[in-house]
Amino acid sequence: MRLLKHVHNWLDERFDWAELTAPLRKKSVPVHGLSYWYFLGGITLFLFGVQICTGILLLLYYRPSASEAFESVQYIMTRVQFGWLVRSIHSWAANLMIFTAFAHMFSVLFLRAYRKPRELTWVTGMILLFLAMGFGFSGYLLPWNTLAFFATKVGTDIAGQLPVAGKWVMIFLRGGEEVTGATLTRFFGFHVAVLPGITTVLVLVHVLLVQKFGISVPPGVEERWKGAPEQAREMKFFPSFFLRELMAWYIALAVLGALAAVSPWGLGTKADPFAAAPVGIKPEWYFLFMFQSLKLIPAKVWFVDGELLGILVFGVAGLLWLLLPFFDGCKGGRGRRLIMGAGMFALGFIVAMTIYGYVAK
């Protein structure tokens, strides 16, 4: 304790530590029946941190080439001390991170935390969610196993269906006409350099915006508190909320450890570009609702290609979702009702299509 005090004094003398940390001490978090949803953003951030740490450790042994990728991951899983744990945590944390990011997005939506002045917080958050899915897509190929190979083939094929630039996008993603070692190298570059760079900047912006505008109070609670100000409660962000968030992180760590130990992430078989695609191949769960929807659309809808129509619909829906807060203020509550309805529909649609995707052959 004396050492800590000494370090604190040292920093305070040089950087005016008390002044620097003043916003943190002043920051407070509203306390009400829905406060537990506030932990989701922090848990997502924690899992992102886990991804960075385990990702760096994996980089020590991983080799991004078609001839060595699978073997290097196999080596990590079997020979490297705790390699299995690091890789399994990396893979499980990736999935949990996307799950908590989705949950965070829907909680923000249903608690209407995107309202003025937090529109840009929503926009940066949505872009971060898309980036997280990009991380998932690019990272999935890196072990260079059969499932990853064909999932990437299908995924980039879908990208190739885009109008005008589709073919170019597909070739850019693949590094050629087909999924090859060039694709692997490219995806590795996206996964460990491009996406982390953009994500880190956006996370900083997102957190700064949260810091700037504070934590939103749901409209219902806000109304109630206006009527009875004595009921309004809040807690200090530091240390009260922070320590509770730390507890949530520990729980997330326990879940991660349990998943990694009880169900280590599988490796599959090495990708063979000349082999036939496995029967019933499916993407990762977070792409499954889109994949299943595209499968259900008829080959031709009127005169438009069914798959192209599906991609366009998802593209437009994604763009509208990104700009969602800007519709909230429309015509006396109509926009708000529309957003809530769309949110309910989207949640139901994603859950239903994901389950259907798993059950369908």
């Binding site: 196999q74 009260s240 320590l243 507890m247 520990y250 349990a258 009880v262 280590p264 490796l267 078989t269």
Partner: protein, 418 residues
């Protein structure tokens, strides 16, 4: 007016040229199909049949086999003067086909790789010899290959495509009434349909699997004979044959007039060989000749014991590796190496054809070594799984303690703040 006159002249000229071309075409076309397409069987030859016929596709006509002059109308086309031979008699069929198919220079223009020894081979076959003796019930070229609508053997619809050969042979050889005068069995096809070879051919689509002609020959079809059975089987089962050559059984079987491979494996109804052939049960092959307790019976028991030991060792390793894999442990390398143990078992089973204990035992020992190593890998993985779960328990307990500590600490500082 003048322009119209020229136009009529041009049209007239074009019309005249068209009529001339039509007449020329009518003169060169075969008139056979005009009548035979409309006749009832057996004289009927439809346009579809003829169009599918390989000979017609190569430019041959009815007259190539039947003679006559197809450019003439009505019965003039089939007059003696036009060289008409009429229906080719069965005993003349091989020679007629051989006119082209034995002519290397002629056949080269259609298919340089096609053999031209079918007729000479046929003459050495049981069918050919009997035909020469005047027996017209025996198979001639058209019985197997068909006539009018004849397709190349590579066509799956051909009667002589590997998938269809057994069915084609069975048309006569499974017909007890037809074969009565020859006093030979007619159950070959029924037996063959229960064999491992038939399964390979029809179920697995392995066109290299043996069918009737693989063992008996096609144009020179004849029973292999007791002394040459081994030569027939060895075309595919090379290693078994080489080991059998060196074994004591070869001389013993020769002396006893026994047909080699067939003694233990039978012929048309060859089933998937199993280790049961070596035991004392109903499938046992050895005990047909050997006596219980003799030196060979002891060797048999020893060989069987070795094989079963390796088989069991492979199963044990498979089981442990499957358990480890189901727990998410990475054992793919050991799983892969299990194939080497299985290969050793297959090799040991092949070595049986030497009919001695040491060669079998050598292969079995090699397999046991691999299976033991893989079993160890599986057990190590399960042990590692145990360590991981223990580690998880310790980690979870530590986290729980931290959580309790944090909660208490939060309570304490919040109470202090109040």
């Amino acid at each position: 007016m003048w322009r119209n006159k020229r136009l009529y002249q041009v049209l007239g000229l074009l019309l005249g040229m068209g009529c001339f071309a039509g007449a020329a075409a009518a003169q060169t076309a075969s008139t056979c199909a005009d009548c035979h397409g409309a006749l009832d069987a057996p004289l009927q030859v439809t346009a579809e049949q003829f169009a599918a016929d390989i000979h017609a596709q190569k430019g041959l006509t009815c007259a190539s086999c039947h003679g006559g002059d197809p450019s003439k109308a009505d019965m003039d086309a089939m007059s003696k003067a036009a060289g008409f031979r009429g229906k080719v008699e069965r005993k003349q069929v091989p020679e007629l086909c051989g006119r082209c198919h034995s002519d290397g220079a002629y056949m080269r223009q259609y298919n340089p790789s096609l053999r031209t020894d079918q007729l000479s081979q046929y003459k050495t076959s049981v069918h050919g010899k009997r035909l020469a003796q005047g027996d017209t019930k025996v198979a001639v070229c058209t019985d197997c290959h068909g006539v009018h609508g004849l397709r190349p053997a590579s066509d799956t619809r051909s009667k002589v495509h590997p998938l269809n050969v057994a069915q084609t042979c069975s048309r006569c050889h499974a017909d007890a009434a037809y074969m009565k005068s020859y006093a030979i069995p007619t159950d070959q096809f029924a037996k063959y349909k229960g064999s491992v070879h038939y399964e390979a051919m029809t179920m697995r689509g392995d066109l290299s699997a043996p069918t009737c002609t693989t063992c008996h020959g096609n144009h020179g079809a004849a029973p292999p004979g007791v002394g040459t059975v081994q030569n027939v089987c060895s075309n595919c089962h090379v290693f078994q044959s080489q080991l059998y050559e060196k074994s004591s059984h070869r001389a013993a079987f020769q002396k006893a007039g026994l047909p080699g491979c067939v003694v233990c494996h039978s012929k048309h109804d060859i089933s998937q060989p199993s280790d049961a052939k070596l035991d004392g049960g109903p499938e046992a092959a050895c005990m047909q000749c050997h006596k219980t307790g003799d030196v060979c019976d002891q060797a048999r028991a020893e060989i069987l014991g070795s094989l079963m030991r390796l088989d069991q060792a492979i199963r044990n390793a498979d089981q442990v590796l499957a358990d480890a894999e189901a727990s998410g442990m990475e054992v793919s390398q050991a799983r892969l190496e299990q194939d080497q143990a299985r290969d050793a078992l297959t090799k040991a089973r092949v070595s049986i054809h030497r009919f001695q204990v040491p060669p079998v035992d050598q292969d079995v020992q090699a397999g046991l070594k691999i299976a033991a190593k893989n079993l160890q890998a599986g057990q190590d993985a399960l042990r590692e799984r145990g360590y991981r779960r223990m580690g998880l328990g310790v980690a979870l307990l530590s986290i729980l303690l931290v959580l309790v500590g944090l909660r208490l600490y939060i309570g304490k500082i919040e109470q202090k703040a109040r």
